[in-house]
Structures are given as structure tokens and as C-alpha cells.
Symmetry: C2
Subunit: 307 residues, 2 copies
């Protein structure tokens, strides 16, 4: 009944510590080469190993992150539960990043930084928060947590998800028609969607055209959701005013790509939110306990939805 | 019993509207040239007019902003109350700006923007919020309101003021010794002090040396509080890691000044917080009501302290 940790040794050491303290009856190893494959019941990894089927008694495949788009879901044996890791640390970092990005766009930081480079001192007309409508694509745990942090600033908040939701203080939309409604009323659009076949290329020219003129974009979902050229075109036409981008396709962004030098883009290298090993280990242990008690783990992936 | 509005016509029109609706018995004018000086009981202005003593029946001189450092306090007749305008709009904008600046420094935005310019994609080691100590210089209404917005992120919060304060969730320091204590424990220092003779040149080489190595600075007080050369020296030595600066001396910042091009400085042109006319008018009216009822206006300046 072994737990196999398949990632970097630094994070592994933190996991090993927490497991030794809080789940001592489950042997913990980072050594895939010497472990008896039949003993492995739990595996945590970022990318699924090619010999996954060799772990014949595997019960749970944990993703080390909030997404599972890096797994080939169909290659994972049917009886194995696939579980995303959404732990306190990753939630907190995403709240910070989205708040930073929304405030940066709300307060015209890209424009002021361009003025700084040009040695130009003058104020840019400023909307008040009550007139700056935020639209959140994706109302999972991360999207909801990010909206929580934006609430005290007084922005009108809306969100869109595949299936209907009710969140206090947030105008919730769903489905095709709901998407159009929300886009038309989003001055700052935040993408926190999971990457699935339905969301690949989601942020495209057609979507940008449905935003009000001058809207801004925060992209903290996954790189392949964004049509990079369509964003540059929308920025250059002025229809989209600015963007803060954390994820690209591919990553790292290639040398010479327009995002590096575009004056209306603030770019960070996929650092919005990173799994924190100590809190992640506790969240994984809690899920093993739930699984052993016959409960579904928190973050259990629905294979038909892809997240 | 006239109210004289001495500033730009756009804001004046908003004031006129609110006064007509909410304080119809007080005549409102923007026309200093034709008003009977003896009728003027209330005056709102950014800089005090030279002929101030000519308004012999003036009861309250309102500053159009949160500061009164632009007034020569000794030139204001003794019987005139001097009142700062700290209204909902200015508070909200300052909350936004300080949160933006603290998150930008916490999440290494200056470093990532430098990497963007250099076409460099790699992550910078990231402290968690619980290990990033915030120190607020100035615990007036703006400082306290800004700390309120930082609280949910989990930063350890401290503050310093001239006289002792108690604020829930904030370690409060005061006086000389308290200042040294707080500086030594501030990873991000925010200056929201009023400009007085005591705070001129407050942010100097000596103060920076008392911060932990790698600390960052948010300056949203007043330009003359900051020794600009000392900041550049501290940034270049690496003792201070980065800064977000909204106020300079002089303003506008002169062409060629190092702040324009310094890679560790995010610069905005004194836009952190701007009095919003609609809410300011209501706050002024409320203060006139208090004054008529024999109460001290909110924001009454203590001439001995200078704020």
C-alpha cells in the first residue's frame, strides 16, 4: 500500500515529512526505479509516467496541480480515480495573482508603465470600481476564491460556468447564451477555465469581439485556450485595451514572440499559482483518508467533462 | 452664508448639483470674481487663494484633498477651521492602489517585467504571504483602510504612527523606538504619512538601512518625504529590492530623472487617489451640518501637528 511521489526531490522531501507524521501506515517513496509496482496504490505526479498500466493496483492518480490537462485521460485505466490537487496554497496564490492583475488593469498600470518608459507624466481617465464590471470565466474553487478577494473593492462581479451556479454577490451565467450576456458586460475578463477539448482556443477573435470596446483580459487558465494572434490583433485595433497573461502556448514563450515586447501586455512566466508542497501533502492525505472511508476524494475528475 | 468652490469647473458642476439637492439653503458659487467676500462662510480649494484674509467671515477652509501640506497654515486666520476632505472615493482609490502596489511587489512584478523586456522566461523564488511582513507608515483613515484590504491575503500587518493606536489584526508601533522596531520587521514598507516638517525627508538612507535586506517600498505619501537619491542608491546596492512610487519631488518628475528608467521602480504620476467630486460634496455637506450643530468637522486639522 505504497504512495509513490514522482516529482522533484525538494517538494518530495516536504511530502515525505508530512506523510511520516500524519499517515505513517502508508509507505512513502520517491524511488520509482526500486519500488514494487504492485505495491503502489497512490501515485502523485505532474505528467503521467508511460508505464502507468504497470501499476496494476493503482487506486488514485493524483495530479500535482489544479489541472489534469497534462494527463491523457483515456490512457489512465478505468478503475483508477484521477484527482486534482487544489490546496490552500494554490488557492491563496491565485487569489493574489487575479487581484493583482484586475487592479493593475483597472488602474491602467500598462498605460502608466508605457508612460514611464516614455518619460511622460499625466493622468489617464479613471473609472471607479463600481463602474468596472468583472467577468470570471470558470467558477470552480479557484474562480470563486478569486472573486471573494475582489468583492470588497466594490466591482460588479459576474461569472460563467458550464453548469448553473449560485454565488452570493456574483451574477452567475451559464451555457452559450449566458456566455454572450456576460462577455457583453465584462470590462475586465478573467479566464480561469480548465483546459479541455471545449476550451481549447476559447479566447479567440470571435470572443474578443463580444466584449465591450476597451475591455481588458487576465489569462490565468492554460496557454492553449488563447489565440495569441487574435489577442495581438484585438490589442492593436484598440478593441481590447490591455492584458495580463500568465500562461502561453508553448511555454516557455519562443524568442521573438510579440507578447514579449507588446506595450499593452504584462507577461509573467506561468507563476500565478504553484502547488505548495506542505499544504498539498495535507490535502492529498485528507483525500486518501476519504477514499479509504469510501468517500469520493475532493477534486475527483469527471472523465466525461475532462476536469 | 455662501459656499465658494475654487477649483475646476467639471468637479464644480458635480458639487453644485449635490449642494442644490442636499443643502439648498446655502448659496453655492464658483465665481470668486463676483461673489461678495463678506458672504463667504465656506471655501473649498486645493491651494489657498492669496486674498484669503479678504473673506472676513470665513468659517471653514476645506482642502479639496486628504492633505493640507499645500496650505500655509500660519497664513490662515486663527478663527478659520481647516478641514481635510477624506471621502469615500479617495479612501477606495487608496485601498486599490496600496493593494495593487503591495501585491505587485510581493509577487515580484518589477522583476517579471524586467524579464519580459529581456525575453527571459523563468520563475523567481516566491515567499508566501504569511512570511511577507507589511509595515504601514501612518495609521490615519487612509492607512487603516488600506490595511483592511490587505488583511484577507494573510500578510502579517504592522503600522506606525506618532501617537499610540490599537487596530485589530495590526501590530501597532509608535514613537522613535517603535519606528526602528517596525522598520526592522517590514518586508514591504508603505508610506502614507502626511507631509509635515517632521516627515520631510523621512524616507532617507538612514531609514532604508534599518529595513531588512531585500525589502520593498510603496510610496503614496508626498514627494518631499522621499530622498530620491537615497532610494536609487539603496535599489542599486540591492538593499531595497524594488519600489512602487506615486509621488515625487518635484511633480511632474523632471526629464532624465533616474526614476523614469530605473528597472526596479514602477512609477505612476500622482494618481493613487483622487478626490471624487460626488462623494466629496456629500462629505463636505456632512461637515457643514456638523459645524452648524456645534460639532467639530471630521478631518479638522490640528495646526500644532500640521495635519
Amino acid at each position: 500500500m505504497t504512495f509513490l511521489f514522482n516529482s522533484d526531490a525538494r517538494r518530495g522531501a516536504v511530502f515525505a515529512d508530512v506523510f511520516a507524521r500524519e499517515l505513517p501506515d502508508v509507505p512513502f517513496t520517491m524511488d520509482a526505479a526500486t519500488v514494487d509496482p504492485d505495491a503502489v496504490r497512490y501515485l502523485i505526479t505532474w505528467t503521467a509516467p508511460e508505464d502507468l498500466a504497470g501499476y496494476r493496483n493503482l487506486e488514485i492518480l493524483f495530479s500535482l496541480g489544479a489541472g489534469v490537462d497534462q494527463f491523457h485521460l483515456t490512457a489512465v485505466p478505468e478503475q483508477v480515480k484521477i484527482v486534482r490537487t487544489i490546496e490552500e496554497g494554490i488557492v491563496r496564490m491565485m487569489q493574489e495573482y487575479v487581484t493583482l492583475a484586475v487592479l493593475a488593469l483597472h488602474r491602467n498600470l500598462p498605460g502608466y508603465l508605457a508612460q514611464q518608459r516614455a518619460g511622460d507624466w499625466h493622468d489617464i481617465p479613471q473609472l471607479q470600481a463600481g463602474s468596472r464590471r468583472i467577468g470570471m470565466l470558470g467558477l470552480g474553487q479557484l474562480g470563486q476564491a478569486a472573486l471573494d478577494r475582489l468583492k470588497p473593492f466594490g466591482f460588479p462581479l459576474a461569472g460563467w460556468s458550464r453548469s448553473p451556479r449560485r454565488i452570493e454577490g456574483v451574477t452567475c451565467h451559464h451555457g452559450e447564451l449566458g456566455l454572450e450576456e456576460m462577455l457583453a458586460a465584462s470590462d475586465i475578463l478573467v479566464c480561469l477555465l480548465p483546459l479541455t477539448k471545449d476550451t481549447r482556443g476559447f479566447l479567440d477573435a470571435d470572443l474578443f469581439a463580444k466584449l465591450p470596446k476597451g475591455a481588458a483580459l487576465v489569462h490565468t487558465g492554460r496557454g492553449p485556450q488563447l489565440d495569441h494572434e487574435a489577442l495581438v490583433a484585438a490589442l492593436d485595433s484598440g478593441h481590447v485595451s490591455a492584458a495580463m497573461i500568465d500562461v502561453t502556448d508553448p511555454e516557455p514563450l519562443p524568442t521573438g514572440h510579440l507578447f514579449w515586447s507588446h506595450p499593452k501586455i504584462l507577461l509573467t512566466p506561468h507563476v500565478a499559482s504553484v502547488t505548495q508542497p506542505a499544504t498539498a501533502a495535507r490535502s492529498v492525505i485528507e483525500n486518501i483518508r476519504r477514499h479509504r472511508a469510501g468517500l469520493d476524494p475532493v477534486g475527483l475528475v469527471d472523465r466525461s467533462r475532462g476536469y
